[in-house]
């Protein structure tokens, strides 16, 4: 089943065009990896999918689960099952992590006409997911991401994903700054969420993460366009030859 269809997507930030015609199709159950050098537009694509309003879409369309994603507000997209694991998770002083997560879950449940969960019902669910990510429960009583280590922040993102159970998860450089142990834990958490109804778009600069989260498809993004698409082996080839190799191959891939 086609879950996401991006057609000729152009997007600008502050009047500067970053995405210059992205085409991408993702089916339920698939994991797609988007790789590319710094500044190629990977994060912009991720933010546009999460409906960040400061990213202006100038052309193209995104059909998500049969709906026009660009017509949705960020919270509506989230309630429809879109989830972005942030490259830089945001610190929110004064709001406890547990309260934030329960508020998010209840907002989504309310959207689907389900009963809200009180703190007592929420606790066992939260504990189960904390275990999955090997996280200390103490982190839940602290302000969201405030004074969390880099690894704790990234795990916290995957924890949210595990609780909110999205249909489409976009992981924006979830591997950056993680040591190999933390990377493994995060990847295991992500893998546990792989299922036939859920698609994932894994944005990364390096292929190491893909040793743990094995993608079905790999796309190379250069200067706002997907210049090459292929299977798992493309990531390895990139690692070996570097992005310069795709840049020389750009024209052929872009218009294929």
């Amino acid at each position: 089943m086609r879950l996401l269809e991006i057609k000729n997507l152009h997007a600008s930030v502050g009047g500067h065009e970053i995405l210059k015609g992205i085409n991408l199709s993702v089916n339920a159950g698939e994991v797609h990896s988007i790789m590319g050098p710094n500044g190629s537009g990977k994060s912009t694509l991720a933010q546009v999918l999460a409906r960040r309003e400061s990213y202006e879409v100038t052309a193209g369309e995104i059909i998500y689960n049969g709906k026009d994603l660009l017509a949705l507000k960020p919270e509506e997209a989230a309630c429809e099952g879109v989830f972005l694991a942030f490259q830089y998770p945001v610190e929110v002083p004064g709001i406890s992590n547990a309260y934030f997560l329960r508020s998010a879950l209840n907002a989504i449940r309310k959207y689907h006409n389900q009963d809200e969960m009180d703190a007592m019902d929420f606790l066992p669910l939260m504990r189960e997911k904390l275990k999955l990510l090997d996280m200390d429960e103490k982190l839940m009583n602290r302000s969201v991401n405030e004074a969390f280590s880099g690894g704790e922040k990234k795990r916290n993102e995957i924890l949210q994903m595990a609780v909110l159970q999205p249909k489409l998860a976009i992981l924006d450089e979830t591997d950056s700054g993680l040591d190999i142990d933390a990377l493994r834990i995060v990847a295991e958490g992500v893998n546990a969420l792989r299922n036939p109804d859920r698609a994932m778009v894994v944005v990364t600069h390096y292929q190491r993460l893909l040793n743990y989260i094995v993608p079905d498809f790999v796309h190379v993004l250069v200067e706002g366009r997907i210049v090459k698409s292929g299977g798992r082996e493309l990531a390895l080839e990139l690692e070996e030859k570097g992005y310069a190799w795709t840049e020389s191959a750009a024209p052929a891939g872009a218009h294929a």
Binding site: V90, V92, G94, I95, S103, L105
Partner: protein, 471 residues
């Protein structure tokens, strides 16, 4: 020629401004409770003379640089009479803290015994109306009343002292702990004409005593009212006192409040002020750390909207060694509201090892909201630690997007972020009934503000779009 003419005009205006006070005072002097007591007559007369001499402050007065009181000066107020139509108990219940046992209600500055209850206080604790205490000429009065408030420096304190008659008198004997908050509700009622009241509270907490006092100012009905309130709080050695000041009158109200804290050795006083209501509001907090090792927390939250003007003025006097003071004020300003934080710290010559800290953080929710923040340190000792910092910012759009990206709608996300910001102040209050009372009021008010601005943006959005279409 022109200049002198202007000069004459100003003099005439200033005299006219004082007219209503002269009239009010001549009547008041004759009939006020305690006018048979020579010390009290003198106290009032001297204070009134001082008020007439100085008049209302202008923007040239350093302490009033950011706040114009001309709206007060130009209104002819009458002393609020004792109303015959008291609000009923049911109506007052909506103001909260209903569970508090000791509850004193003042209507237009006059004690309303029918609406009040003393409850079951620990032995020796006295809570009563100041007017009753004046009638008795109790011994604590001569020893404390008017001894701390600086009527020379502050003209509103002088005005309050000139008209002092009613308010609360609280006496907590040595070593006594009052567990439940003492709740003082000041109601301004509907008078038909502009009225003024000058409630005066005297709180004497003896050595090693503990108590929580809540002053809550509300409006019941509409109409222009000027409430000029003053509280003298004497904390004896090792006393632990929390004081709350909540201003939530309607926007036609003028509210000037002064809290003077006189702290003994190793005493610990927390002043929490929450300004949400009132049109023109000024809250003065003036701790004098007189005894060695005294600690003081001055914690404030101000939330302005519309055309409200909320001024927070602090004068922290370190007069002894090893004292610490902490000032934390958070401001949230929307609409055309104007907030002021003016924090003055004076470290006297002998106050070595002073540890003073001052922080003011402000959130501006609209382009037209404004805040003036001014730290002022005067240090005459050489071994001290004084720091201050102020920030002014907008709502964190990244945090807002983060919350929304998890499914939380924009209004709720805004409300959560505002509550978190305001929550920093509430976190500093000791857990208990008083804090819960404040949390309830603040959370309800913030929800209201967010809902209002959401409605506003929905109304405005289509207009913007059509403009773009035309352009």
């Amino acid at each position: 020629m022109l200049e002198s003419k202007t000069g004459i005009n100003q003099v005439t205006t200033a005299t006219q401004e004082l007219n209503c006070y002269l009239e009010a005072f001549s009547g008041f002097e004759k009939s006020a409770v305690g006018n048979n007591l020579p010390w009290l007559r003198k106290l009032r007369a001297n204070a009134f003379a001082r008020f007439c001499e100085v008049g209302f402050p202008t923007s040239r007065t350093e302490d009033w640089r950011f706040t114009s009181v001309s709206a007060i000066a130009q209104t002819q107020f009458q002393l609020a009479p004792k109303t015959q139509r008291l609000p009923d108990v049911q109506a007052l219940r909506s103001y909260g803290l209903t569970q508090s046992i000791c509850r004193f209600v003042f209507v237009d500055g006059h004690f309303a015994s029918a609406l009040s209850s003393v409850g079951n206080l620990p032995k020796g604790v006295r809570v009563g109306s100041l007017a009753d205490e004046l009638a008795l000429n109790g011994p604590a009065l001569d020893a404390h009343l008017g001894h701390y408030l600086d009527t020379q420096r502050d003209v509103f304190s002088a005005l309050n002292t000139a008209f002092l008659e009613d308010g609360t008198f609280i006496y907590i004997p040595r070593g006594t702990v009052v567990a439940e908050p003492i709740y003082l509700l000041f109601v301004s009622s509907e008078a038909g004409v502009p009225v003024m009241s000058h409630p005066r509270n005297l709180i004497v907490a003896e050595e090693n005593s503990q108590a929580t006092i809540v002053e809550d100012y509300v409006s019941h009905g509409t109409g222009i009212a000027f409430c000029n309130t003053a509280t003298e709080l004497v904390a004896g050695d090792h006393a632990v006192i929390s004081h709350y000041m909540i201003e939530r009158e309607h926007t036609q109200a003028f509210n000037i409040s002064t809290l003077l804290l006189h702290q003994g050795r190793a005493s610990n006083v927390a002043s929490h002020s929450v300004l949400m209501g009132g049109g023109l509001v000024r809250n003065n907090v003036h701790p004098i750390l007189a005894g060695e090792g005294a600690e003081c927390l001055i914690n404030g939250l101000f939330i302005g909207n519309g055309r409200q003007h909320l001024d927070n003025y602090m004068l922290v006097e370190h007069a002894s060694p090893h004292c610490s003071s902490r000032q934390f004020y958070n401001g949230i300003l929307d609409g055309h509201a104007h907030g002021v934080f003016h924090g003055r710290i004076i470290v006297h010559k002998d106050a070595q090892k002073t540890d003073a800290k001052q922080t003011n953080r402000n959130l501006l929710l609209s382009d037209d909201a404004q805040v003036d923040t001014k730290p002022q340190l005067e240090i005459y000792a050489d071994d001290v630690k004084c720091t201050h910092g102020a920030t002014i910012g907008q709502m964190d759009e990244t945090a807002l997007f983060y919350l929304r990206s998890r499914g939380i709608d924009e209004s709720s996300a805004r409300r959560m972020l505002l509550m978190a910001f305001a929550g920093e102040c509430m976190e500093r209050m000791r857990a208990g009934a008083a804090r819960s009372h404040v949390e309830e009021i603040v959370n309800a008010y913030l929800s209201q503000i967010v809902a209002k601005s959401a409605r506003f943006s929905e109304e405005v959005a289509p207009v913007k779009k059509s403009r773009e279409a035309v352009g």
